[in-house]
Amino acid sequence: MTEMTASAAPFRRPDLSEAHLRRRYSAERRFKAYGIFAIAAATAMLLVLLSSIVAKGYTAFSQTYIALDIALDADRIDPSGDQDPQVLRKVKYQPLAKAALRDRFPEVSGRRDKRALSKLISGSADVTLRKFVMANPDTIGTTQTIWVKASDEIDSLRKGHVDRGAQESDRLVSDQALEWFDHLETDGAVDLRFNTTFFTAGDSREPEQAGIWGATVGSFLMLIVTLALSFPVGVLSAVYLEEFAPKNRWTDFIEVNINNLAAVPSIVFGLLGLAVFLNFFGLPRSAPLAGGMVLALMTLPTIIIAARAALKAVPPSIREAALGVGASKLQTVTHHVLPLAMPGVLTGTILGSARALGETAPLLMIGMVAFIVDIPGGFTDPATALPVQIYLWADSPERAFVEKTSAAIIVLLGFLIMMNAIAVLLRKRFERRW
């Protein structure tokens, strides 16, 4: 003790008092509480978002059909009676459906009312009937009960999106149409069925005929172009920069610029694509080729950064081991470093392309916002993409497009979740410990 008092600096012991301990514990408890609160808030917001989308969108997966007893008049369909498909294909079938509807409600008279009546069914009844007749030519001359699609207004009514208590002028469906619909429903001539059109058709002005297959194919073609360009270029750049390039001012400059590119707003890439790919190189407008190239530019920095991080994470002892047995630098990289980094590289690539899949802004600049009905058949056909389709439908005035918009969002989210799940699986599957 005498020695201690003799030293100039007082001998300090750690503060072991109750109060100090309590302060430390409560600080820890507070910190945990903040964390739990933050996670709960984030989860709640996510749930609200998802549930509102699903609640709005799930009805789009079904479609209202109306049963009509359609007289397949031989004189009008097949006057010659030889069931020639060329002839059968050219017949206008819509009037047959309208006639069947008028027969169903014989009390309706007057041009205006008749026209209102024919609006109960979709314009696609034509297609449905043509398909039926072409498949069963023997039915010509008989009367058949055929389910045709209801129009989008009736579809909304059936799904409960129309407020029956509202004033007629504020309502999508007139009083008259309401009455007709109720008649049909009590007769069991109205049914809600799975909407295959939504998954097989391209865009349409008529909500009941619009589908997302065209946009899905467009997105898929674009993603192929994006991956084919950005994966090899990205991985090679990363390997060169990380393993071969000398560390000097030039490589530093390149590295800084790659990092900056990753933060460039995507619309800028769209403008670049417009100026360079379309105007200078003359690539076709609205084509998945141009779209994919623009998205490849956007994805490239993400892939390079992810791949470099993955390469950096491979322990140097592996490189030394390979060099030590006399492998060349290239052999070291291709035999050992790159295979070990591959899960990380793939994860980065998948996350990058998931971002590209959800990107809209750059595509607007290169004309992919066009209204395209046909399913694209190749990389240079006009096409649109899923997020652009969502944007287009969200802008449409028809009430029935609201549910289509949400349904398309559900499909897009489904794709994104799938891609992320693959990324997680890859990481788990190939994770190595050294």
């Binding site: 560390k247 592996i318 081991a321 390979a322 060099l323 030590g324 047995v325 006399g326 035999h335 070990l340």
Partner: protein
């Protein structure tokens, strides 16, 4: 430096055939100098151990001998090192071929995350001297036998090399190094991560390998240096202080610094 030069005037360093001859080797990491004009001869079919406190440059010198320092940015090597009379820092010399002749075993066992078989077969495959499966099988068996690992792993050659114990991994790394039939094997503290029993196995192995290879080993354990090596070089602060017959260096060192280090007064 002057001291080191004197040492090599001694006749005992000329008794064995010199495999590697280093003259005036200085190494710089950027601005700082890690080695100061080292002159050292490595005798063929001998074990030479490099001892000295941490940071004295012994590992740096070891890595100069198969040009592993080339990979480090900002590292510069002056002076000359010859292998059988050939300058290994000659710009015409292919560094990959050099490393096939001068193999290396590292401080931490670093098997490739592949099967035991592929770990051994990798070197022969890339150097193209075992093309057929039968040749490779033979090389793998011989290398593992020489490394004293064959009996332990012959039934699980397809299992990952990283699944072995630390000592086995290190012997696997030695087997991998000798599979390419190098002339010299450099070992950078090969036993520092191992327990005494595994260390004893490796030391036995080093003694056996001496028949066919020239071995240079960096070690922190003076007992190990005394047990396995015929010649010992003592490094301190980037200088080669003393080099000589192991027995002579440990029992009757010429330099006061050597005396101080081996008796534990510093280091």
């Amino acid at each position: 430096m002057a001291i080191a030069a004197e040492n090599f005037a001694e006749p005992e360093s000329n008794t064995a055939l010199q495999k590697i001859v280093a003259r005036g080797v200085s190494v710089f990491y950027g601005e700082s100098q890690a080695l100061q004009s080292i002159d050292l001869d490595i005798g063929a079919n001998q074990v030479t151990s490099l001892i000295g406190p941490s940071g004295c440059g012994k590992s740096t010198f070891l890595r100069c001998m198969n040009r592993m320092n080339d990979v480090i940015d900002g590292c510069r090597v002056d002076g000359s090192i010859t292998l059988d009379g050939e300058d290994i820092y000659d710009s015409k010399l292919d560094v990959v071929q050099l490393r096939a002749r001068v193999g290396m075993v590292f401080q931490k066992p670093n098997p490739f995350p592949k099967s035991i078989y592929d770990n051994i077969a990798y070197g022969p495959r890339i150097h193209g001297f075992a093309d057929s499966k039968a040749d490779l099988d033979e090389v793998v068996e011989i290398s593992l036998t020489r490394a004293g690992l064959w009996k332990e792993v012959k039934d699980r050659l397809d299992k990952p090399g990283t699944g072995l114990s630390g000592g086995q991994q290190q012997r696997l790394c030695i087997a991998r190094a000798i599979a390419v039939n190098p002339e010299v094997i450099l070992m950078d503290e090969p036993c520092s991560a191992l327990d005494p029993i595994a260390t004893a196995r490796i030391e036995e192995l080093i003694d056996e390998l001496r028949q066919n290879f020239t071995i240079v080993i960096v070690t922190h354990s003076m007992q190990q240096a005394a047990r396995v090596s015929q010649r010992t070089a003592f490094f301190h602060l980037g200088d080669l202080v003393e080099c000589g017959d192991t027995q002579q260096l440990f029992t009757n060192p010429r330099e006061e610094r050597t005396q101080g280090y081996i008796t534990g007064r510093f280091g």
